[in-house]
C-alpha cells in the first residue's frame, strides 16, 4: 500500500515537473501537410489541413536548450522529437534525436577522426498509440541470442547478446518524465530483417501525460508557413 502511494507520489511529482517545463517554454508551432498549403484563418480549410497534416512544435526551454516535436495531427501520436543544447563554451550543439530515425550526419572522417562503421547497429525509437518501440538495425544474429532486461535501479533497459557482440543500455525518457520505472512484464521483442524490435506497453500514466501536453499545444496559435523566420546563413 505504502509502496503504491510512494510510486504515485513520484509519478505526480515527475509528471508535474515535465508539464511545468512544457508550459513555461517559449513555444512556436506550425501546421504543415504534404502539399505545402498555407494554413489560413477560415475554419473549414484549417479543418482540412488538420486531418491530413503534421504539427511541428518548437520549444525554447532556456537560451541553451531547445526541443522540436512533430506530431501526426490526426492521431495525436508523436512522430519525432529532437533536442539541441549549447555546449560548455557557448558553441551550438548538434541535434540529438530522441524519437524517430537518427539524423544522417555525413561526418568528414578526416575532421572527426573516428566514427562507427556504417555496418554497426544503430537504434531508432518510435512511439505508437499503444507502445514505446525501439528498432535496432544491422543486427544479423538470430532471436535466441538476445536478452532484453528491465533495470529499474539504473532506470533503463539493457540489451545483451550471448555471443558478446552487442550490448546497449537504452534510456527511457518517456517513463522518467512520467515518474515510472521500467518493468519487465511490459517488454516484448522480436527479430525480423536484421532488426531487433523491442516493444514496451505504454502505461496509463504516460497516456495521461501525453494528453495533457497535447492540450497545452492546442492553446498555441499556429503560424503561417510563410511567417517562419528563415535565417539564411
Amino acid at each position: 500500500m505504502e509502496m503504491g502511494m510512494r510510486g504515485d507520489c513520484l509519478h505526480n511529482m515527475a509528471s508535474q515537473k515535465w508539464l511545468e517545463m512544457i508550459q513555461k517554454a517559449e513555444k512556436k508551432c506550425i501546421i504543415e501537410d504534404g502539399t505545402n498549403v498555407y494554413c489560413t484563418l477560415t475554419m473549414m480549410l484549417s479543418e482540412y489541413l488538420h486531418t491530413s497534416g503534421k504539427q511541428k512544435v518548437h520549444y525554447q526551454f532556456s537560451p541553451a536548450e531547445e526541443m522540436v516535436e512533430e506530431y501526426n495531427w490526426e492521431t495525436g501520436v508523436l512522430i519525432r522529437r529532437a533536442w539541441r543544447k549549447k555546449n560548455t563554451f557557448g558553441g551550438e550543439g548538434q541535434w540529438d534525436v530522441e524519437i524517430g530515425d537518427p539524423e544522417t550526419r555525413f561526418l568528414n572522417l578526416n575532421q572527426v577522426g573516428i566514427k562507427e562503421s556504417s555496418s554497426a547497429p544503430f537504434v531508432s525509437r518510435r512511439i505508437t498509440k499503444t507502445s514505446l518501440e525501439w528498432r535496432i538495425r544491422n543486427l544479423p544474429y538470430p532471436l535466441s541470442v538476445y536478452t532484453v532486461k528491465a533495470e529499474p535501479e539504473s532506470k533503463c533497459i539493457t540489451v545483451r547478446t550471448t555471443n558478446k557482440k552487442y550490448f546497449k543500455k537504452l534510456a527511457v525518457p518517456d517513463l522518467e518524465r512520467a515518474g515510472l520505472l521500467p518493468e519487465q512484464d511490459k517488454i516484448q521483442f522480436t527479430h525480423k530483417h536484421n532488426t531487433l524490435i523491442i516493444t514496451y506497453q505504454k502505461p496509463p500514466e504516460v497516456y495521461g501525460l501525453e494528453k495533457k501536453v497535447l492540450q497545452e499545444l492546442k492553446k498555441i496559435k499556429p503560424c503561417k508557413e510563410g511567417d517562419m523566420q528563415c535565417n539564411p546563413s
Binding site: 563554451f89 578526416n110 577522426g113
Partner: protein, 473 residues
Amino acid sequence: MEYMYIVFVYLQAAAAARVQEVREITRIERIGAHSHIRGLGLDDSLEPRHVSQGMVGQLSARRAAGVILEMIKEGKIAGRAILLAGQPGTGKTAIALGMAQALGIDTPFTSMAGSEIYSLEMSKTEALTQAIRKSIGVRIKEETEIIEGEVVEIQVDRPATGVGTKVGKLTLKTTEMETIYDLGNKMIESLMKEKVQAGDVVTIDKATGKISRLGRSFTRARDYDATGPQTRFVQCPEGELQKRKEVVHTVTLHEVDVINSRTHGFLALFSGDTGEIKAEVREQINAKVAEWREEGKAEIVPGVLFIDEVHMLDIECFSFLNRALENEMAPVVIMATNRGITRIRGTNYKSPHGIPIDLLDRMIIVSTSPYQEKDLKEILKIRCEEEDCEMSDDALTVLTRIALETSLRYAIQLITTASLVCRKRKSTEVNIEDVKRVYSLFLDESRSAQFLKEYQDEFMFNEMEEEPMEVTA
C-alpha cells in the same frame, strides 16, 4: 669479372633502397634549424649545464631564462615582458624554444614573428589581441565522449598507387560487445605512433582525437613472454564502448572566442578564422570565464607569447602592448630582437632595439653574447648528430674556425652540404677536403659583399649602400 659485376649491381640496389628509406623518413620529420633543442638544460637549482638538452654555453642568458620559467610556472604574476637582445646567431630563438619545451604541453605557448601582424584580413591590434588570447588557457572540466575498449584488430589499407590517404578500421571490444570503427588519417597515424597492438586496452577521446594506452588486457597475458617488465596489465573494460566521461581540457581564450562568434548554419562547416571578433563577444567571454573562476569550475592558465623580430612592430602596436600588458589576464610576453639603436617603425625617432623607451621600461632585458670557440664546436657537433652526418675531428675543427670567422649559421649550412659531397665520393665520414670544397662553392655574407664591391659595375641596378644595418654590439 662476372662476380664483380653482380656485386656491383647488388650495391647499387642496396644504395637505391637506402635512398628510398631516407626519403620515407624525411617525409615524416623534417629537420629544422632548432629541432635539436629539447629544453633549457638546467639542473634542479636552475644552474645551466654547459652542454645539455641541445643547448650549449650562453650560461647567464639561460640562467635568466630559468628564473623567468619559474615565474611563469607559478602563474601568479601576469603581464610581464621580457626582451632577449643580442647579435644575430647568439641563440635568442633557441632559448625561447627551450623555454617552450620546458613548459610542456599544458601551458599555451604562442610563437609569432613581428611581421605576421601585418595582414590584409584584420587590423594590427586585432592580430595582436588574437595572439595574446591564444596564449591564455582555460582549464575546465568538460563532459566528453570517450571510447574505451580492448583492441581486437587494426586494419590499415594503403592505396595501391602509393599515393593517397590510408583507410583504416579498428575493432574494439569490451566484456559485453564488439564494434568496428572507421579511422581517419590522423587517427591512423596516432595509432602507429603509440604502437597500439591487438590486446592493448586503449582510450580514445572523440573530441580531441587523443589516444592513451591503458595497458595490456589480462586475457593476452600469456601470449608473449617478452613483453618486458614495463608492461602494465589491466582488465578488459565492461559495458558499453562509448561512454561520457568528465575530462579536464585546456582551451585557449581565442578558441572560445571563435566558437562563440562563429555564425550559425552551414558556415560552421568551414573551419578557419572568422576575421575580426567583436569586442562585445570578448567582454561576454571574459565575464563568463571570471564567473567560472569564482565558482571554481575553471582555472586560468596564463601562458607565453613569443614575438620574434619585435623591431618589425610599429608605434601603434607598441602603444597597444603597453596597455594590454596591464590587463590582469595578460600572458608573459617574450620578445627577441637583434637590432641596435634603430628607427621605431611608424615614427622618425631612434630608440634602442627599435622599441619605444616606455615599453622598454616595462621589460626585463636579457642579453646574449656571441659564442666562444669551444661552444661553437659543441653546437656544430650537436647539429652534425641531428642532421645525421659523421664528421672527422679535423673537419670539425676546420668548420669551427669557419664559424668563428664568418658566422655560426653559415657553418651549420655547410654540414649537410659537406655530407652530400662526401656521399658522392662514396664515403661515410666527412673530411677536410669536403669542407673545403663546400666552403669554396658557397659564399658567406662577407665574401659575397666583397665580391660585389669588386664587380659591382657588372650587376644590374647597382648602388653603393649608404650605411650598414645596425646590429646589437
